[in-house]
Symmetry: C2
């Protein structure tokens, strides 16, 4: 996963010249690789830069290494990494969205980006009950083997990250700034713990401030990295609804927690449910719904790199696995056979499905794959 | 609307012999009228009564008028009435359900059964908030001109009836007993006020006790009389969910009020929403969903539905009526012919059907009645 400076400087150079995003992706599509762009004939590059001779000169001249001292220093820290779009380690779900970022700055465990994630987002000013719900869902999802991904904002985001960490899990925070700064500043300590126990991610270059327009772009990464998005509490016209809309556009599941019709913070969730989001009352509701998606991720070759998927089953899973066998069996039967609670069996099944140990069959049945 | 004793005794007689319900409906379908049944040849009646000679004798002998003294006394009260399946005053929406009751005992204003109704149902042991919601929705719906129909049970039902009465509106209670008794007894006063300001309805004969199996049958009338059912608070596996399921089977709208995921009384509503019920936060959400019909009703002060139904069609309806004609025609054809939106056509059709201007035919087709 270590990225040597000479490999990434061409990316940083073109990222800076193009302003990142779509322009750089189009160049990659046209020329096939980052090296091919710098080696392209001037005549082919000119139209890509709207005829701007200075930009094309800069592309052809190549990077002035001295301009990337900040990045070099940052990458010298072994906990920092850069993942580029053409990298086999680039998260496969994020690769599927209409506008995957060409560069991902990662502080912490970059391999975690390949793990199955559920985004948990919501209001920056939640109720106590909303925070409790965010914590309870995140803890359960974490124990079920999912990584909780969020935006490290005040309120629901922070509750979700904290609960995932407290449950001994790893969590991913997607930032709207460069990763050499922390926003909001109050989350300095949280950011540090996330980086050491999970990962901080950003598509924005080092030094980038928390610009207003960064937040919707950041939100598309939160949903793009995840199998689905859970909205815990959200007012109408809030950032969480943008994340949910982006998730739906990306074909990801949207889950929403209902609440009192008299609570303004339930309005956003209710609006989502009316638009087709799944109403969920508990984390097992989400795990049940994720069944099919989880199969996809487990089957994806890129997902092999995720350590969560590569680990061998724990003893409890191994026992359940033996109860399952190679003929499809219903969950109810497994509950009876194992003597475990429905919630526990459901979690374990999802977990084993994510690892590719079992597969779901029609009629809510499961069977071993190996 | 006055029903003379000699007209209804044949109905009461056959109702009693057949046990009411489907058996009597099948006889009516086979022989065409209540009179034709008593005049049918023994050989044709025998198979209808599973070869029971005694029953067929009783049909052919005709009623012993002395057996219906209780009904005679009850009908002597001018506020009591009987509406039979073949009566033009039989509620048209109820006529559409798969198993319309052949006889309706009505105490109060029988014409009210033809008014546009919304059923409001829920737990017998609601929270304070649930009662408040039932009251607020019922008051708003009443002021908008809809009749609130419910089951006069403790809890949400009673809150809904009370709020409709307090808002100066009329309300319909469907009973699971004969109308000469009140269940629950605590609602004696409420029943009296409903009868004087609205209507009590039952398909059960006088004297019928509140048997367990009466309640689901009663619930199908609550939904069958109504354009839709609002479930305010309901536990899983509750009677309100049965009403909602019946409503869905009858093609009626189902509305549910969400609540805290920690409230067992919200679980039923959440289950309904997951199954496709409309999540509503306020009465206007319901009115919007009911569309043009609700707007029309709102324009009729004090829900004077009898006159509303008798009013002549507005110009738009008159145009659509002329497009319909006297041969059954599909709604899609009408959308093409009229150039109106499907939603608009659908609303207008329901509206005209309620007024008896058209009738629904098999295969989703419509034809004029006059």
């Amino acid at each position: 996963m270590d990225k040597r400076m000479e490999d990434v400087i061409p990316w940083l150079h073109l990222h800076r010249l193009t302003g990142g995003g779509a322009a750089l992706r189009h160049l990659l599509e046209q020329f096939g690789s980052i090296q091919a762009i710098s080696a392209a004939p001037r005549s082919e590059l000119l139209p890509c830069f709207a005829g701007d001779q200075n930009l094309v000169d800069a592309v052809l001249t190549g990077p002035d290494v001295g301009q990337f001292e900040a990045e070099r220093a940052w990458l010298d820290d072994p906990s920092n990494n850069l993942v580029v779009l053409t990298d086999p380690a680039y998260p496969p779900l994020l690769h599927e969205i209409p506008d995957p970022p060409p560069l991902l700055f990662v502080r912490g465990d970059a391999a975690l980006l390949n793990a199955p994630q559920l985004a948990v987002v919501g209001s920056r000013n939640p109720s106590h009950g909303g925070c409790d719900n965010a914590r309870a869902f995140s803890e359960h999802l974490t124990r079920a083997g999912l990584v909780v991904t969020s935006g490290m904002a005040l309120g629901i985001d922070a509750c979700a990250h904290e609960a995932a960490l407290a449950a001994g899990g790893r969590t991913i925070a997607v930032a709207a700034t460069g990763l050499d700064r922390v926003y909001p500043a109050a989350h300095h300590d949280l950011a540090h713990r996330i980086a050491s126990q999970g990962a901080l991610v950003s598509e924005f270059p080092l030094g980038a401030p928390p610009r207003r327009e960064h937040f919707p772009r950041r939100n598309r990464l939160i949903s793009g990295l995840s199998l689905g998005v859970l909205v815990v509490e959200a007012a109408l016209r809030s950032g969480s609804l943008i994340t949910a809309r982006l998730a739906a556009e990306q074909g990801r599941e949207v889950f929403a927690i209902p609440g009192s019709i008299h609570s303004p913070l339930a309005r956003g969730c209710h609006a989502l449910i009316r638009q087709g989001a799944k109403l969920v009352e508990s984390a097992p509701d989400i795990l049940e719904e994720l069944g099919a998606l989880a199969r996809f991720v487990a089957a994806s070759p890129r997902a092999d790199s995720a350590s969560a998927l590569a680990a061998s089953p724990d003893p409890a899973q191994q026992e359940l696995l033996e109860l399952i066998g190679y003929d499809p069996v219903e969950m109810d039967t497994l509950i009876v056979r194992s003597g475990l609670t429905p919630g526990r069996v459901s979690s374990m099944l999802l977990h084993m499905e994510l690892r590719g140990l079992i597969e779901a069959r029609p009629g809510g049945r499961y069977q071993r794959t190996s």
